[in-house]
């Protein structure tokens, strides 16, 4: 197993290098280099000053030299300096990863808690009413534009909330965006307040994963319950519950673990839309804001961070698969 992990790590090196080249390309493709952007707002800057600045920052050097220098800095954890935030990008990331985790972890748990039971039930009662409802729901989940869904939820729960006419439901008004109410004391009130802010964005963020996981659970389960060993287990006279839980489910969940591990990073990367719609100060919002604001150093650094996350979770998925499924040979 250790050798397998080691080999997978070795295989990651060329991919990581390839990604770094593409990422560097993204940086150099930007219209204007950081010095151009720095002086764009100041017409008094003289050409010789521009040349001096470019020399100072090494922008006059050939691309391959710049790439090697950039890679060296990146590997040492220096992701550059944000032009618009006037801060090192690593500080920006550090401040926002926590906020993103709140949302991503909640959405992830929500997706798994709903999707796995629904998918299993859907497979066990194929063509039942619930199966039809669940299958249709998965189509809705993968087809709905996230930003539109978010806006509609905000309108429904923060602006319109027609149910507040009923006194018993008058509390059900949710904040349209943001992360917490100013002035709320720490401890329990803080968490209750945070919960109110998280309901809408976590549902919106979870929907796509929920739909995807439901599909995978259902099809994986359908495949497994047709296998001979499940028929054998039934033929042995085992209780249906035992057949499902011990024989079918455990095998059906193996591919699901891979899908889930692969999509955690996707959840992180998919958060830009949700975080922007709900004004949630996370990593995704940082990405969107820096792209729109023309802060390409910060944008590229966030992308690099997301790509590394994907790489790590891909490894986790592979190793998890090899651990769970003894049929996979990993030597």
């Amino acid at each position: 197993m250790q050798r397998y992990i080691f080999r997978r790590l070795l295989q990651m090196i060329p991919i990581a290098l390839g990604i770094s080249v593409l990422m560097f390309a993204l940086l150099t493709l930007a219209p204007g280099d950081p010095v151009d952007l720095l002086i764009a707002s100041d017409p008094r800057v003289k050409p010789q000053d521009v040349a001096r600045l470019k020399r100072l920052y090494g922008l006059d050097q050939p691309l391959h030299v710049r790439y090697v220098k950039w890679l060296g800095r990146t590997l040492q954890g220096d992701l550059g300096f944000s032009r618009t935030y006037k801060e090192p990008v690593t500080h920006l990331l550090r401040d926002r990863i926590g906020n993103s985790l709140w949302l991503t972890v909640t959405a992830f748990c929500l997706a798994v808690i709903v999707a796995v039971p629904v998918g299993i039930y859907s497979a066990l009662r194929q063509y039942s009413l619930l199966d039809y409802v669940a299958t249709t729901f998965t189509f809705f989940g993968v087809s709905i534009p996230v930003f539109w869904f978010g806006i509609m939820m905000i309108y429904l729960f923060a602006v319109w909330h027609p149910w507040t006419a009923i006194p018993a439901l008058s509390w059900l008004v949710l904040p349209p965006g943001g992360i917490s109410t100013p002035g709320v004391p720490g401890g329990l009130p803080f968490y209750l307040d945070r919960l109110r802010y998280m309901i809408l964005p976590s549902i919106v963020l979870a929907l796509l994963s929920m739909a995807t996981y439901t599909r995978y659970t259902r099809s994986s389960m359908l495949e497994v319950i047709r296998q001979d060993y499940v028929r054998t287990a039934r033929a042995k006279g085992l209780a249906e519950r035992v057949v499902i839980n011990k024989h079918a489910l455990r095998n059906a969940l193996i591919p699901l673990v891979t899908i889930i591990a692969l999509s955690i990073s996707g959840l992180f990367a998919g958060a830009p839309i949700t975080e922007t719609v709900f004004a949630w100060p996370g990593v995704g919002r940082l990405l969107v804001d820096s792209v729109i604001g023309g802060d390409f150093v910060a944008a590229q650094a966030v992308l690099m961070f997301l790509a590394v996350l994907v790489l790590i979770f891909n490894l986790v998925a592979d190793v998890g698969y090899a651990l769970l499924d003894p049929r996979i040979r990993y030597d």
């Binding site: 709905i144 539109w148 806006i151």
Partner: protein, 300 residues
Amino acid sequence: MARNAVSLAPPAPAAGLPAGEGYWQIAWRRLRRHRLAMGGLAVIVVLIASAVFAPWIAPYGFEQIDLLNRFAPPFRAGHLLGTDDLGHDVLTRLLFAGRVSLLVGFAAAFSAVALGTLVGIIAGFYGGLVDNVLMRFTDIVLTLPVFGVLLLLGRYFGGGLIAIIIIIGLFGWTVTSRLVRGEILKLKHLDYSDAARALGASETRIIFRHLLPNAMAPIIVAATLDVGGAILTEAALSYFGVGIQPPTPSWGNMLQNAQSYMWTSPWLAFWPGAMIFLTVLCFNFFGDGLRDALDPRLKQ
């Protein structure tokens, strides 16, 4: 779609069937029984027709402004779906925006699938080092946080129709390339392609005459689902202001514009999003039905 594809089909599969029905006829017969897929197809046809004939069926001119009735709610002042901040008729704008969104969807999906098919064929057919290099490259692109990269590239080069199509197409080919590579690997050692090679057929002939037509089913399914995906991507990019730029309307940038008037005129945000949702949903229904209908393992 299946009817048009008949000409692509190799005559071979039909030979063994008593009814003289080809693979594509069987698929079409199966597809017709798939209610969701046919419903999806019907809506797609209507949407395409309404986009093509937009100038003739739109109740108002594309740039016509009804200054006295800005922000009119639906069903008032002669505007079925209301008017926007400038007094544009929303229904008219939706019809014209549909042209852009559908065009981007089809063109981007087509370029993505064409590129993916090309990479998949080369990797699968030639194998060895070429295969290795191409597949590692596919891995690299798959690892990229694609949406963020598209956002950044949209900011760099966006605005134009062609730029958006190229950007979306350039990053959407990976899944198809793996799929096609797998199919080619499976097909290239079957007896008929060995036979073709033994008869002295050229590589191009083997690929385009014998391998590609038989790998067509999953490619068509991928293309159909990709159209929906590309429409969603374009809408998201335009929503963030780095996709199609106003005054060219697309469903995404209509939504972005509408967001400023959410509190007072919520219907402005409702319609464009609902159109995106409906369109993508129909492509997914249709693609799913197509997958079932084209699956050669399901004999009927």
